[in-house]
Symmetry: C2
Subunit: 137 residues, 2 copies
DNA sequence: AATTACCCTATAGATTTAATAGATATTCAA
DNA sequence: TTGAATATCTATTAAATCTATAGGGTAATT
């Protein structure tokens, strides 16, 4: 299941991308418009800031704004921050690899084999989908 | 993240498929060989029985056995029972469709759009991967 | 001084991962 | 045929973790 964090994060980013301005938009506005708990959204946007494509400004008239163009923001980056590793098991993760402690041999592990396929498939989607692709029309 | 239930279930099924017999194999043997909590595995195998490709026999010499050939058991069936719906959000689920209560319009929802792609991609993998494909060369 | 992002803590609820105890069905041998 | 052994089935519960949210205070900007 997709977490609400990811769901809300995607909606917020899409909302920002949908505005044709690079002026900051307040958390309150996004939360209200997308029907999201404001406090929760605070944390979400904060964590997204680490990606480098999202900027923020404090004080009156402050808020969040996209630094990069939506067509340059791939879903791989977004999903990794919001949902965590794209791989469903750490032993097939590109960025968060970890050996399974209960699995003696990866090469002969059926779970490993299946999840490798799934990871490749998902990675293909996320790499080729950009924030701009999520906009309507 | 893949649940341990799914992980264990896949390993157990692969173990059964790896035996060249259709004689029942006890939970104890599978649990021991695959390093799984036996009681946990009991529940897992029980839930897999509903798929129709897994049979069981009680009493001495009893256990679990595959009814169908591993090449006829697609991962779609296995994953749906173990991990639940393949879709990450219910509004793109084939078998468990449900409207999002907080989303006014699916057509213009960015999450919907992205998750549709992911679902298609995963479905493609699961439909084209069979239990026999998970066995070691 | 007002506004808004930032940061930290806590918590109720749900889910996952089992552990425990016993009931039921089958087999086999005395 | 009866009883002991075996092994699946069922239910309950508990610990641990994750999720979603709320509260309250700090820092920066206008």
């Amino acid at each position: 299941m997709l977490s609400k964090k990811t769901k809300y994060g995607l909606k917020a980013l899409t909302y920002l991308a949908g505005q044709n301005t690079k002026e900051p938009i307040s958390i309150a506005e996004i939360a209200k418009h997308e029907n999201i708990s404001q406090k929760f959204l605070e944390n979400i946007l904060l964590s997204l800031r680490s990606t480098g494509f999202l900027g923020s400004k404090k004080g009156k008239g402050g808020g969040y704004y996209l630094i990069k163009d939506p067509s340059e923001i791939p879903m791989t980056t977004v999903m990794r921050v919001l949902e965590g590793p794209i791989a469903m098991v750490s032993c097939v993760s590109l960025n968060f690899y970890e050996k399974c402690d209960d699995c003696p041999d990866e090469q002969s592990c059926s779970v490993h084999r299946l999840m490798l396929k799934v990871r490749d498939s998902n990675l293909d989607v996320y790499r080729n989908t950009f924030l701009s692709d999520l906009l309507t029309g």
